[in-house]
């Protein structure tokens, strides 16, 4: 058991991080928010060519033939950089398509010809009319064609929220394994949000002066920053352990993934909220990025559906001994 990523495992994530900082900075996203699409077809195609949607797809079907480890490390960067668009649901849909043996659909997903939003009940996350939408439960993962998608106000300005109606079913698989994968990748995104909030707070606490000294010298602020770091460390450790358990097919993989999701969710919700407090007045303004991370955390949480899905796994019996 080793929970330190190798440099090969980090390769994809590192290059994605570099690309996002240079090409999709938050300032650029802010400009797009004033009308216009956050992720146009050209950008989506570019992401496809960079392998965003096909990290774990077999080489024979146009993918990179890597695994969940490389994939979750990449999703951490999506969270850290607040990457927009339905990347997570499209990656899960690609996995579904591979599992369902829908080779033609897989090819279209891999090269970015289709993007797939997420549906939770009647609510669509980054759903495109006429496009595909994924819904997930322990029972089934289902891909459907979108019949209509009526925009509704979104708490997160970087996520397009809709009331969605679906038409024909396109593909279906048993849900548990795909949902477990969703938990791992969502936990990675949430951890990324929590880590950025922690870095913002720590950076600000070092430079913001009051009473003639940096506010980071006051224990009230310093201890909050220490707690932010601890939450990230705890969630990151569990996420790594869970990703290894899922990759290796351990019998406890589902409860490990559920724990990773719960801890990452706690870290993201708490860190993005306390980050506002640490920044004071400026943190409350629309101008500051702290609010975007706060809103993304709640939006990602909502996209998971009922917490009962993973908390029921967490309170199930078993776990008599370590394996």
């Amino acid at each position: 058991m080793d929970l330190t990523p190798t440099s090969e495992q980090k390769d994809i994530a590192d290059s994605v991080a570099e690309y996002l900082s240079a090409e999709v900075p938050i300032e650029r996203m802010r400009r797009a928010l004033d009308g216009g699409s956050l992720v146009n077809d050209a950008l989506w195609k570019q992401w496809a060519s960079m392998g965003f949607f096909s990290v774990a797809v077999p080489e024979s079907q146009g993918g990179l033939s890597l695994g969940l480890i490389e994939e979750f490390l990449m999703f951490g960067e999506f969270g850290r950089h607040l990457a927009p668009g339905p990347i997570l649901s499209s990656v899960l849909a690609t996995q579904l398509s591979v599992e369902a043996g829908a080779k033609e659909l897989t090819a279209r997903l891999v090269d970015g010809a289709e993007r797939v939003g997420l549906r939770v009940g009647g609510t669509g996350f980054d759903v495109t009319p006429g496009g595909l939408v994924l819904s997930l439960s322990a029972e089934a993962g289902v891909l459907e064609r979108v019949r209509s998608a009526e925009p509704v106000p979104s708490i997160d300005p970087t996520v397009a929220l809709t009331e969605v109606e679906v038409g024909a079913e396109v593909a279906r698989v048993h849900g548990a394994e795909l949902q477990t994968r969703q938990w791992i990748l969502t936990a990675a995104v949430l951890l990324g949000l929590a880590q950025t909030a922690q870095r913002q707070s720590t950076g600000y606490a070092r430079i913001r002066q009051q009473f003639g000294k940096p506010i980071g010298s006051f224990q009230a602020v310093k201890h909050r920053c220490a707690d932010m770091l601890t939450r990230c460390y705890v969630a990151e450790s569990q996420l790594r352990f869970a990703a290894v358990a899922v990759s290796a097919g351990h019998s406890d993989r589902r409860v490990q993934a559920a724990a990773a999701l719960q801890l990452a969710l706690d870290a993201a919700r708490e860190n993005t909220a306390i980050n506002i407090q640490n920044h004071g007045g400026i943190g409350f303004t629309a101008e500051h990025d702290a609010g975007l991370y706060l809103k993304r955390a709640i939006s990602v949480q909502a996209s998971l559906g009922a917490p009962e899905q993973w908390t029921s796994v967490l309170r199930a019996p078993a776990l008599k001994e370590f394996e």
């Binding site: 224990q219 920053c225 569990q238 352990f241 719960q262 309170r315 370590f322």
Partner: protein, 375 residues
């Protein structure tokens, strides 16, 4: 990142087999000589079976294996419901490792075997009534007279002090205001004339705590670990060890404690309360993370005992111990008024956020050393 190797799995299997045949079936006596003898006998049995000091170098009687195997062994101890190190904890945890890191060859040869086979019980003498979180202000004084140190003063909060024969003691050899620059770490035989060990009863009903008085206690200079005046750096390695792999056994036990409480809650019907079940689910996630952090601590590129990431792990698991115990009290309902193993544990766990540096000091250290926030 990768899964357990087949060699690691094989090690776990043989550990499990040995434990199944050797873990004492009789209950551990609550206190006194019987308790001490129980703890010592269990350590002795592990030592004779070749299971003591998994990651200790072979030259000191250990197995010379990896930290990963040490963690697996700790997990299997927990799985098997084996007794904790208890009276031997200070020696097997921080003192033994401090001697390995900072002691002379002579000191290692003289003391490590007795620590590992359980024949010599150790305690630590750091805190004083006026030097708690501000450890560097300690006042217990030692003068060099010929080839001896002459010690005067007192120490408090020495865990298992009433049972110990040896002590790792931090004293002031420099001027009174020299703070961390004037300290010395020294080995003291508690049978030396002038030493007076007095038990301090604690809120959990135990008398495992002690204050120790030193009245012209003469200790050979050969007992100084490191150099005179360099005790602070030796003490820092001791304190770092308190956050390192050596203490993983009690951290890993949290998960089993929680699973036992679930059984208690199911038997009493408390688990039918959705709020209790929800709290259990949350604690399950938290205790699983303890195991993940244990393996992360011994993963490649991690600095082991002195790794700063150990700080966050320690802070978190110490506070989690209290959350698990508090959950136990909730599960007990009105039976919480009764003194039993869970109420004892709840009381005992109040020390988790005090011993080895309070959680407040731990947060300062994380903020200042890891996050580089100003002091």
């Amino acid at each position: 990142m990768h899964d357990f190797s087949s060699a690691a799995e094989e090690f776990r299997r043989t550990a499990r087999e040995w434990l199944a045949a050797n873990v004492p079936s009789e209950p551990r006596p609550a206190d006194g000589d019987a308790m001490r003898e129980f703890d010592v006998a269990w350590q002795r049995r592990q030592y004779e079976g070749g299971w003591a000091g998994i990651d200790w170098p072979a030259e000191y009687g250990g197995r010379g294996m990896s930290s990963l195997q040490q963690v697996i062994w700790f997990e299997e101890l927990v799985n098997a419901g084996a007794p904790h190190k208890s009276v031997l904890a200070a020696g097997l945890n921080q003192i033994g490792h401090t001697l390995m890191l900072c002691g002379s060859d002579e000191q290692k040869k003289q003391h490590l075997p007795g620590i590992l086979d359980g024949s010599v019980i150790w305690c630590q003498g750091f805190s004083e009534s006026e030097a708690g979180s501000d450890l560097a202000s300690l006042r217990t004084r030692a003068r060099v007279v010929d080839d001896e140190l002459v010690i005067n003063g007192s120490k408090v909060w020495c865990s298992f002090g009433p049972y110990a024969r040896m002590q790792g003691l931090l004293v002031r050899t420099g001027p009174p205001e020299s703070r961390h620059r004037g300290l010395t770490w020294v080995i003291v035989d508690l049978r030396t004339p002038g030493v007076d060990v007095r038990p301090i009863p604690t809120i959990d009903g135990n008398a495992e705590f002690a204050e120790v008085y030193y009245d012209d206690v003469r200790v050979p200079l050969a007992n100084v670990v490191g150099e005179i005046g360099r005790g602070w750096s030796v003490a820092l390695s001791t304190l770092a060890l308190e956050r390192g792999p050596a203490f993983l056994d009690t951290k890993l036990a949290l998960q089993m404690d929680l699973e036992r409480l679930r059984t208690v809650a199911e038997d009493s019907g408390a688990f039918e309360n959705p709020a209790v079940a929800a709290e259990f689910a949350s604690l399950r996630a938290q205790t699983l993370a303890v195991r993940a952090m244990a393996y992360r601590l011994v993963s490649s590129g991690s600095g082991g005992a002195t790794d700063q990431s150990g700080l966050a792990f320690s802070l978190y698991s110490n506070e989690l111990r209290q959350r698990v115990s508090a959950f136990g009290l909730r599960v007990l309902g009105s039976a919480a008024a009764r003194m039993d193993m869970w109420t004892f544990k709840w009381l005992n766990d109040f020390c988790a956020t005090i011993a080895g540096g309070t959680s407040d000091i731990q947060r300062n250290i994380i903020a200042e050393r890891v996050l580089e926030l100003p002091r």
